[in-house]
Amino acid sequence: MAIKKFITGNFYEEAVLFPAVKKVRRAGYKVHDVYTPFPIHGLDKELGMKDTDLHIAGFIYGITGTTTAISFIGWALARDWQINFGGKPFFSLPAWIPIMFELTVLFSAVGMVLTFCWLCQLAPFVKKDHFNPRSTDDTFVMAIECTDKTNEAEAIAFLKEAGAQDVQIQSRETGWWFGRYDRETVRFGKKVAAV
């Protein structure tokens, strides 16, 4: 990733944000992201995002867990070391259902959380550039990416017109890096490059 130039605007009301997103997108601006302090239902659709496939990953992890449980228990008790428990069959499926179920849930949950962290680049000591710290408190921060064709002054005026407040131009790193939040660190020590 690289350092890019953005125009950011702060929104105080959902009722203002939604029409603004619509207007900005219709005008052809590239919305980098909208940062919100809590999930706003429908905003992802408004931004033209596809649904996440995380639940499909969860299903695949789940059946992996089921398969692991049944194949391992089956192998251990019916093949590798057969033990006679009161004359019951070595392959006694009903008695294995509890563990099969538990491993299904375990694999699915752990796998999904890891996938979630991978996709969203979340891990301890991961640092990312923040447009406005208020986006984790009470406002919705929209960041529009400046491209070669963007007329900055026009974009700022447009965003203000759409209801945004404290509109600014900011240069930000779009990727992530390892760093501490109590220190000013930049990704790979790179200096802000001209866009």
Binding site: T52, H55, W81
Partner: protein, 481 residues
């Protein structure tokens, strides 16, 4: 856009006082950012004291063996397994609140879920201690894991409910922890961005995993929460079902009952909610969060308590009836002589259980009682005592007289070290809870903000006004037809 979604005016607001998003952040972060009160220190030091008592007790047990606990050949499971089931039961409310109520779209869960989930995790940690230290030769505890070993390899018995328990409880702990922490990420990011002190920036910066609140991340976060809730719902039911299998699959009179799984699950939810009440009544008072954990929350939780308490009551009576109706001599003897008979050595515990779990919660049929803090607090303690005795009744009264009268136990009482171990888990539980309430937001900040415009006091008022206005306009327009 779900902002204008209709919200019933029958239900009271879930956030009291005229709040906006920033005020919510301020209110919930305040206890985390302030220096701890004297009361906090007193509680914390008492908890540490109890924890030390527990560590000493466990050390004694490891040195001398489980005989240190007055356990013998007849009563092999005394206080320790009673405590184990009790703690696991308490650990059920958190996931019930966070998972099942999420699936049912119950808005009131948002005020209480974070603390309840934390309670679940700490309660399961406490529960896990008992079977581990009860093993006696605890240095061999890893034998429960199926790993290639030099004894054959001899695998663990996958057909045994005790092994199912190992899998169920470790899975439950892991999934609850993940669920809880994923929910914490956005709130930790809020704390990080507010942090003024260096160590806070470092700690919350690392703990929030670099969360930014991006729309795509929120979309995935929502999907993740929903699927985890879907997975946790059957999981929470399975865990206590499997714990009940520890008893139900045996042939001990009093344990050999098919009703156990639903009966245990209802009891778990019952005791879990009682513990949530105990903790939250103190938390909201001490941290000044009465506007977020409102009377409305306490009222609905008391409704859950009276419902589950009554289910448990039906289960007790069904069990008793079937013991008689089945004409199984041993089963009926266990019930008639070891439990119902008040003059038998442990008869008192059966009536204590009945009184605390079945009769006393019936007081919550009255709204006035449900909304009385003192009554609620007293009842929550009573239910916890009652549910402890339920497990004690099931375990001890079933095994202290077995098939052979010559091996009937003398009166079993716990030793100081057995009590110390139990107290020690209280120490562990409250130490964890005190630390949690100091360093983490006890209420899910993002989730409260999410429901604010539907269930907030000021917004509900506005909604009602709008509704009446539109009703009047409608009447006015249609008056002449």
């Amino acid at each position: 856009m779900s902002l204008n979604r209709y919200e019933s005016q029958v239900r009271g607001p879930l956030v009291e006082g005229s709040k906006d998003y920033h005020q919510i952040t301020e209110d919930i972060c305040r206890p985390v950012e302030a220096t701890p009160s004297k009361l906090w220190w007193v509680g914390f030091i008492i908890s540490i004291g109890l924890l030390i008592f527990g560590v000493v007790s466990v050390t004694m047990e490891v040195m001398y063996g489980t005989g240190q606990w007055n356990l013998n050949k007849t009563i092999g499971w005394g206080w320790d397994i009673t405590n184990f089931v009790w703690w696991v039961g308490i650990g059920h409310a958190g996931t019930l609140i966070s998972a099942i109520l999420l699936l049912f779209r119950q808005g009131w869960r948002t005020g209480v879920n974070r603390a309840a989930e934390a309670m679940t995790i700490f309660a399961v940690m406490c529960a896990g201690q008992f079977p581990i230290w009860h093993m006696g030769r605890v240095w061999n505890a890893f034998f429960v894991m199926p790993y290639p070993n030099t004894r054959g390899p001899l695998w663990v018995n996958f057909n045994s409910p005790l092994l199912w328990d190992v899998f169920a409880i470790s899975t439950y702990f892991t999934v609850s922890l993940l669920f809880w922490y994923c929910g914490l990420l956005p709130d930790l990011a809020t704390l990080r961005d507010r942090a003024k002190l260096k160590w806070r920036k470092l700690f919350y910066g690392a703990a929030s995993f670099g969360w930014t609140g991006s729309t795509k991340h929120w979309q995935r976060h929502e999907a993740l929460s929903l699927v985890l809730a879907g997975l946790s719902t059957p999981l929470v039911l399975s865990v206590h079902t499997i714990v009940s299998f520890d008893f139900a699959t045996s042939v001990i009179p009093g344990w050999h009952t098919t009703i156990f799984p639903p009966y245990f699950v209802a009891g778990a939810v019952f005791s879990g909610f009682a513990m949530v009440q105990t903790l939250l009544l103190i938390t909201r008072k001490v941290l000044g969060l009465e506007e977020y954990i409102t009377m409305e929350h306490i009222d609905v939780m008391n409704k859950v308590i009276v419902l589950t308490g009554s289910i448990v009551g039906i289960a007790y009576l069904t069990e008793l009836f079937i013991a008689w109706y089945s004409h199984v001599e041993y089963e009926w003897f266990a019930f008639r002589e070891n439990r119902v008979n008040l003059s038998s050595p442990y008869g008192w515990s059966y009536y204590l259980m009945m009184g605390c779990n079945v009769l006393s919660p019936q007081i919550f049929w009255f709204k006035k009682m449900r909304r009385n803090l003192l009554v609620t607090f007293f009842m929550s303690i009573l239910v916890n005592i009652g549910m402890w005795f339920e497990r004690f009744v099931i375990i001890v009264t079933s095994i202290y007289r077995d098939y052979l009268p010559s091996s009937w136990s003398t009166y079993y009482t716990p030793t100081i070290w057995e009590i110390g171990f139990y107290m020690g888990t209280f120490g562990l539980f409250f130490t964890c809870y005190f630390l949690f309430s100091k360093f983490f937001p006890v209420i899910a900040i993002a989730e409260i903000k999410h429901i604010l415009k539907r269930s907030g006091d000021n917004f509900k008022e506005q909604m009602e006004k709008d509704e009446n206005e539109s009703l009047e306009a409608f009447e006015h327009a249609n008056a002449h037809h």
